[in-house]
């Protein structure tokens, strides 16, 4: 009788981690709803990943990194929920960033979209972030979120509707179906 095959995986290639920073930053922004928090989340994620050699069990480093990012986000959110509430920063506040010239309308819309995604319920947000923000396939997202591919497709579809409704809230355009 042959011994069971154990998937020992492979070591995460840290030399190419920098290739994923943009996509992880966008994912973090869509999870947190704020650029400042997104920076901290990405920083914490890379610090966690680089703290020791990591074994991954497939060829998709990005999916692995997104999983660590999401776990770090959920962990931080749980910790924050146990803390005494502090004074909140005003809605829509973003620190002034002089480093890049920008057009106010575009910036506002991009920021609003990420804010809307961050405000979706967890299952819709996670599916949308994995597929539309990070660019994973439905299959990869399903493996990451431990659900069926069809479920991911359904959640992404409904999440997109919710984003459109939030960004263009005209009565005729708004979906009649309740969000769930």
């Amino acid at each position: 009788m042959s011994a069971p095959v154990v998937d020992a995986g492979r070591l995460l290639d840290t030399d190419t981690l920098g290739d994923h920073v943009d996509r992880l930053y966008r994912a973090a922004w869509a999870l947190c709803g704020s650029r400042a928090d997104a920076e901290d989340l990405v920083q914490d994620t890379f610090a966690r990943v680089l703290a020791k050699p990591r074994r991954v069990h497939n060829d998709n480093d990005l999916a692995y990194l997104l999983q660590v990012l999401r776990n770090t986000f959920l962990s931080a959110r749980r910790t924050a929920s146990r803390r005494v509430a502090t004074v909140a920063v005003p809605e829509g506040y973003e620190p002034v960033d002089h480093s890049r010239e920008r057009r106010p309308a575009d910036v506002a819309e991009t920021r609003e979209v990420f804010g809307v995604i961050a405000g979706l319920s967890d299952k819709f947000r996670d599916a949308l972030v994995a597929v539309d923000v990070v660019g994973l396939s439905y299959g990869e997202a399903a493996a990451l979120l431990r659900t069926k591919e069809a479920t991911i497709a359904s959640r992404v579809f409904r999440a997109r509707v919710q984003v459109a409704d939030a960004m263009d809230p005209s009565p005729a355009a708004t979906s009649a179906r309740p969000a769930s």
Partner: protein
Amino acid sequence: MTRRDDIPPDAAELARSERGRELVAEAVADPRSMAPAALRESIEQERARAAASARAPARRRFRAQRRRPLAAAGAVAAVLVAVVVVGLIGGGEPGEPAFGRVVAVSRLAPERPAPAVVPGVAPARLNASVEGLHFPDWRERFAWEATGRRDDRVGGRAVTTVAYRNPRGATLGYAIVAGEPIGGAPAGEDVVGGDETYRVAHAAGRTTVTWTQDGHTCVIDAPSTVPDAKLLELASWANV
């Protein structure tokens, strides 16, 4: 009972979903949704440090030393007396600003004019300080002139940076972190001068010199075209 997922979407809902997909795609394609330069720098340094750590057989911490004032004239000779340790320092304590982000902000362009020179004091200094630690005026002694400053917050700490330029156009950023010293300096060579230890690190065409002065982490970051000896000379003369 009919489940919501069992109801096929109508044309309006399909259009709304497509509109949502477009909105997200536009946001993702917006170049301003890319990671900020300081974050990239920070991660790259973190990655380089981890790679160096993986290669190193063992870690050594350099000896903590009490600082005594250095005489400006003899500073460079003292600084270069010994290269003692090629060592590594691990990551900072929880809650500290990441070292890489401090270095990254020291490379950003100034946002305010250069601080004025404080007249009639020796050693010469600028009208800029962090908790009593002043930035030096290097014009007379080294011909490096302050060109601007910026004030950032990294991990909840104030980081003040003064930019300097020499007559040949080379620039450097000199940053001081408010509060307690932070850990996690990049891997590099420790150079002892007098009672001070300076960490000199090279990465991606840049040289970073870090040390602790009067209880504050100080960073000088410059292109690697500026000789290490010059940066050490500046660092050892710097804080007054």
